[in-house]
């Protein structure tokens, strides 16, 4: 029972906290990289970030184990964050 509760807590944290970080990273990355006017890129990024967030939450609860759940959120978030820094530094 305790193990079950911990597993649920871990996944909830991955979905809610991890998902938010992933969605934010996606928003930041898209805002910098989308080939649109700056204000349009931001608005499009905002809208798409909610889709990313929802997909992240579904992934976390759909996947086989907690490791995959966390990895599926953390890895894309890292990649997107790196892309964001790259774009920001490169002045795209």
């Amino acid at each position: 029972m305790l193990r079950y509760r911990l597993a649920v807590t871990s996944r909830a944290a991955a979905a809610i906290g991890g998902g938010y970080v992933l969605a934010s990273a996606a928003a930041a990355c898209l805002a910098v990289w989308l080939p649109l006017a700056r204000v349009d890129a931001v608005v499009a990024a905002q809208m798409l970030s909610f889709v990313v967030y929802a997909c992240a939450a579904l992934w976390v609860f759909a996947t086989r184990n907690a490791w995959r759940a966390w990895a599926g959120v953390a890895l894309p978030a890292l990649v997107l964050a790196a892309l964001f820094w790259l774009g920001r530094a490169g002045g795209v």
């Binding site: 934010s24 928003a27 805002a31 700056r38 499009a44 809208m47 909610f50 609860f61 086989r64």
Partner: protein, 553 residues
């Protein structure tokens, strides 16, 4: 807690598809439950908000104002503002429309009296030009504000509403994945099977019926709050949020005063110019920056109701406030702006004309009922799994109390709000606040009653709500002269529509009260349903069922 004693959410041992559906079913159940009570309130007040102006007009029955043209509205507002607020930093004017005939003006007083913010709102009678004096009420605005601010401080209520919205989005998406046969489910309704079956079929039908709407309204609600909830995009591309907003909404950017006095151009002719530029498009609002200063500007915005894509930002035209020369403006939005504007516009529904507005209202009520039946289903499923004759567990009782207080209790609270509007004396100080206090007091009392009354709570609270709503037209007749007997012959559809809707809502609640009375009695008489629960607490999958995974939860 029985419902919790389940395997880890995802364990696709042999059949991955079945495992996925089970995991999604679990997610749907819990994501829906956690914020279900709040979401029910957001859905119901949101549905009512599609009739925000009409509710406000019903709640101020002594105001009978006829709509006028935008040019006449601006003329009236200008005369008032030149007399009462020549020193204000900004004037805001909202023109009279058929739905909101009063001319609404507001301004920031230059030197507010100490201790006050100095932001004044006034509604003018567009014919006489006089300030409208009516009973103090927040009207439909209260329900509208509650829908996304939850009567909390500015960022907090919106944050909470946003989080609830995100849970809703996840609940909808996981609910879709759970159902293999979305279309077939829609045509499955087995009310005679009773209990869990009827609740589930009802929940499925309501959800599938309005699925595109439910998805749209949830997603667009999040987009409306996007700048608050998801600031990363803005901060990635801009140094601060102000910079973004000034670029995204240039018509609202504040310009500094020059310090030199100069007479303000007459405002009404600018309306005609803008109407011409927009090919007869309606003018909704006017913002006068720094009136009486040499740097004054006048911005006009097109009516949001003119097009669905104007939800975020309608086109604007700006004029020099001294010479009246056009200075340019924001035209139609680009592709992204139009998409975002349409998403937001679809949520607000301001473009919808009466027939579509009613469709909006009815589908959002279906969404409200979707949340409500989902909450009831949570109870029904767990009650069915209890051993024969076993009393409800603590968690079941707790959720049932919260369900009754949130669903039936909110209906009671809304009815009480409308009653307070008619019963409280017109000159009571802080009257508008008393109305909302009564709303919350009635709601809180419903929770207390639900906690104390056990089995009778659903029947009693629904019956109370039904009684209050059915008597509302009677109360209206006793306290005003715009009752059904007068409003129907006069074709006064704002007043008559409200009274008739209250009657229909009252009948619906009476039906619920009757149903739940029978069910609760039956439940107490009959020992219990047969126990199908296995040792692990999960019912065996039902043979031939289209969604066994969903059933077993």
């Amino acid at each position: 807690m029985k419902g919790m004693r389940q395997p880890e959410p995802a364990q696709p041992a042999h059949a991955p598809a079945e495992g996925l559906r089970q995991a999604m079913s679990w997610l749907h159940t819990w994501a829906g439950l956690v914020f279900g009570w709040l979401l029910f309130a957001m859905f119901l007040t949101g549905a009512l908000s599609f009739f925000r102006p009409e509710i406000t007009r019903w709640m101020r029955p002594e105001v009978a104002v006829q709509p006028v043209s935008a040019a006449r509205s601006v003329e009236v507002a200008e005369a008032y503002l030149r007399r009462h607020a020549p020193d204000a930093a900004r004037w805001f004017i909202v023109a009279s429309t058929a739905r909101e005939p009063g001319v609404r003006i507001s301004y920031q007083a230059a030197k507010p009296p100490p201790g006050q913010r100095g932001f004044r709102r006034v509604t003018l009678d567009p014919v006489t030009g006089q300030e409208i004096h009516a009973r103090e009420t927040r009207g439909g605005d209260f329900l509208y504000r509650f829908h996304f601010q939850l009567e909390m401080g500015v960022p907090w209520g919106r944050w909470l509403a946003g989080i609830a919205g995100m849970f809703m989005l996840v609940a909808i998406l996981s609910g879709i994945i759970t159902h293999k046969k979305l279309f077939a489910d829609f045509f499955t309704f087995r009310p005679r099977k009773g209990g869990q079956r009827a609740w589930m079929d009802g929940h499925n039908a309501l959800s599938v019926l309005g699925l595109p709407f439910h998805l749209m309204i949830t997603f667009s609600g999040l987009v409306l709050l996007a700048s608050l909830l998801m600031p990363a995009g803005i901060l990635a591309a801009y140094d601060n949020e102000r910079e973004f907003f000034d670029e995204a909404f240039p018509a609202f950017a504040m310009k500094p005063a020059s310090g030199q006095a100069a007479p303000l151009v007459p405002l009404a002719p600018l309306v005609a110019q803008a109407e011409q530029a927009w090919d007869g498009g309606a003018i909704q609002r006017m913002v006068v920056n720094r009136p009486g200063d040499a740097a004054a500007t006048v911005s006009l915005s097109r009516a949001v109701s003119d097009r669905v894509s104007y939800g975020r930002q309608a086109p604007t035209l700006t004029f020099d406030g001294v010479t009246g020369q056009p200075l340019g403006g924001t035209g139609e939005a680009g592709a992204v702006g139009t998409v975002a504007g349409t998403v937001v516009g679809l949520h607000l529904g301001l473009f919808a004309q009466p027939l579509l507005r009613w469709a909006y209202f009815l589908v959002s009520l279906a969404g409200t009922a979707m949340v409500g039946t989902g909450l009831a289903l949570w109870i029904a499923k767990r009650r069915q799994k209890l051993r024969s004759g076993a009393p409800d567990t603590l968690s079941l009782r707790l959720v049932d109390v919260l369900n009754a207080g949130s669903i039936a209790g909110l209906c009671v609270a809304c009815a009480a709000y409308f009653w307070a509007n008619r019963v409280l004396p017109a000159d009571l100080p802080a009257r508008g606040q008393w109305e909302t206090r009564i709303f919350f007091a009635a709601w809180a009392a419903s929770y207390v009653y639900a906690a104390l009354r056990g089995r009778r709570k659903w029947r009693d609270l629904s019956a109370l709500g039904a009684l209050l709503l059915l008597l509302l037209p009677v109360l209206n007749a006793l306290t005003t002269d715009r009752h059904l007997g007068a409003s129907l012959p006069a074709g006064d559809w704002v007043m008559a529509g409200f009274d008739l809707s209250a009657l229909v809502a009252g009948l619906l609640l009476a039906w619920i009260a009757r149903k739940s009375g029978g069910r609760e009695q039956a439940a107490s008489r009959r020992p219990a349903r047969h126990a199908t629960a296995g040792p692990d607490g999960a019912a065996p999958p039902l043979a031939g069922s289209s969604n066994a995974a969903y059933e077993s939860r």
